[in-house]
Symmetry: C2
Subunit: 312 residues, 2 copies
């Protein structure tokens, strides 16, 4: 077990502590939610950015990582309320199981717990420039933008990129930024970490959006409703619509079937173009990582996370 794996266990424990010290009434809802816990990739990003020249990681990075994972959970809970989703990653959503009201408050609670935890670092005075709430604002804006553009089949590529920047990339940026803030890394390099975090987040969402149309992907874990059926406009769709005006016209008249959409996306090479876009972010991040003045294990870990996002 390397230091990153070791510290990731501390992060999981810290998330567990927050939850187990919550009153019973919230615990049962939140524990249920944790059954669908993800890969802790955001926490891993914090830890990677946090490594010092001597290989050590400050415990404050564990606090920041746990707070970011809690914030991520909070957004998932509210997403479920908004999507009216029945399952997420194969598990019944809180919203479906306990009702909308409970889910709204549980999301609020998790959000508060996340912010509250972020205030509990040891070297507090060092992080006065890091504001998790500011990132939370950006995430809410991304979600709002996505919602407002629901069913907007004429969504422009730049607006789509701005939406996924807010709803996904900003939290990866926060992860990298908070991680490096705990480290001995020189201030001049900190912007590079934000670039890397942004790129990893963009790749993560672009490839997630591809899954909707990827024939090779197992259907087992796919949501009941696809993005398209929910009115969420993604890059493969934008390409299909700009290539085939008749597809756009049909969609606007609500006459486009799921099967036809898949065909249009395939013919327009929407998936390949989306993956190519992800590759450009990959190249940017890779260059930034190569140029950092850091120890080898840190560089390898940053590359591992980048490759994980890129599913390489």
């Amino acid at each position: 077990m390397n230091i990153f794996e070791e510290y990731l266990e501390y992060v999981k424990r810290e998330v567990g502590v927050t939850i187990s010290t919550s009153p019973l009434i919230v615990r049962k809802y939140i524990e249920h939610l944790l059954k669908s816990e993800g890969k802790y990739i955001r926490a891993a990003a914090v830890l990677a950015a946090a490594q010092n020249k001597d290989g050590s990681i400050h415990h404050d990075a564990v606090i920041f990582a746990a707070s970011i994972e809690l914030l991520h959970l909070a957004t998932l809970v509210h997403d479920d309320v908004m999507d009216d989703a029945d399952t997420r990653r194969g598990v019944t959503t809180l919203h479906k199981k306990y009702g909308r009201k409970t889910a709204v408050i549980c999301g609020d609670y998790l959000m508060a717990a996340s912010m509250s935890l972020a205030n509990k670092t040891e070297k507090k005075e060092t992080y006065l420039g890091y504001s998790l709430p500011t990132y939370m604002e950006a995430i809410a804006l991304g979600e709002l933008n996505q919602h407002i553009n629901n069913g907007n089949y004429k969504l422009k590529v730049k607006d789509y990129l701005s939406i996924i920047d807010g709803k996904t990339a900003k939290l990866f940026e926060a992860a990298m930024y908070s991680g490096v803030a705990t480290s001995d890394d020189v201030r001049e390099q900190q912007e590079s970490y934000q670039t890397i975090g942004h790129a990893i987040g963009m790749i993560f969402q672009l490839l997630d959006d591809v899954m909707d149309f990827d024939d090779n992907e197992s259907v087992a874990k796919k949501p009941v409703q696809s993005d398209f059926e929910q009115g969420v406009i993604t890059l493969p769709l934008i390409h299909a619509f700009s290539t085939y005006p008749e597809a756009l016209q049909k969609a606007e008249q609500h006459e486009l079937t799921r099967k036809e959409v898949n065909q249009y996306v395939r013919n327009s090479k929407g998936v390949a173009i989306t993956i190519a876009k992800a590759e450009t972010y990959y190249a940017t991040a890779k260059t930034a990582i190569e140029n950092l003045d850091i120890i080898d294990t840190k560089r390898e870990e940053l590359m591992r996370i980048l490759n994980l996002a890129m599913r390489k």
Copy 2:
């Protein structure tokens, strides 16, 4: 215009700045919400607690007051989503006008903006002990407790008090605590301010709960559905049920009409008993205010807010 009124204008301006610097998409939702803005009593509490011995108030108190008002607005937005309320203080709710999804995200945005603003004080390092998120956690717990006890006609007085402590009193406590933290008041007195804030919040909610049954109150601004009809169990109701077991039995069989409830509350003197409970909090707060070593204008302003809550 005294200093408190003058600074309250700064608070309103600060809230306005947060909103006017939000992107257009959130502005239109939030501006709509501001039409139903309240009396800024929480902000007034911050400013009262913030006054220094020389009569001045530090600008950081304005920041804290604005952040508390924004948090209050955020909870109102999410309350509306949960209540499925059509109007609040006579104005159509965001939820009804723009849909549930928008309201959930707008509430999240306001919450983030509130936390973010609270981080923008000048003497940051002085307030490391003040954590708005911790209060936000308590508020979410109060809301959750209320929701779980929806329709629980056997709710105990102490559980009711614990619910309103979370959902209402905690924010007044935060107001007093953050205000005094910006002042030159000695640390030994700070606990008294929390006591005063708690008492004011409790009075505020107790008298709000009385309105549901108060014959003298104008019906014009009452919500379409009363607390009772929404399953929210308040102190006048608890007294009616404990005095008349047949009322409890009827309620549990969903056979109790609104008219009958009013009659049972009247006969059990539920309203008078609730007002008497508020009076005990009033006495506690009054004694605490009298015992503070502060200048007269500060004491008068604290008493003014206490009387405002008590509707004296």
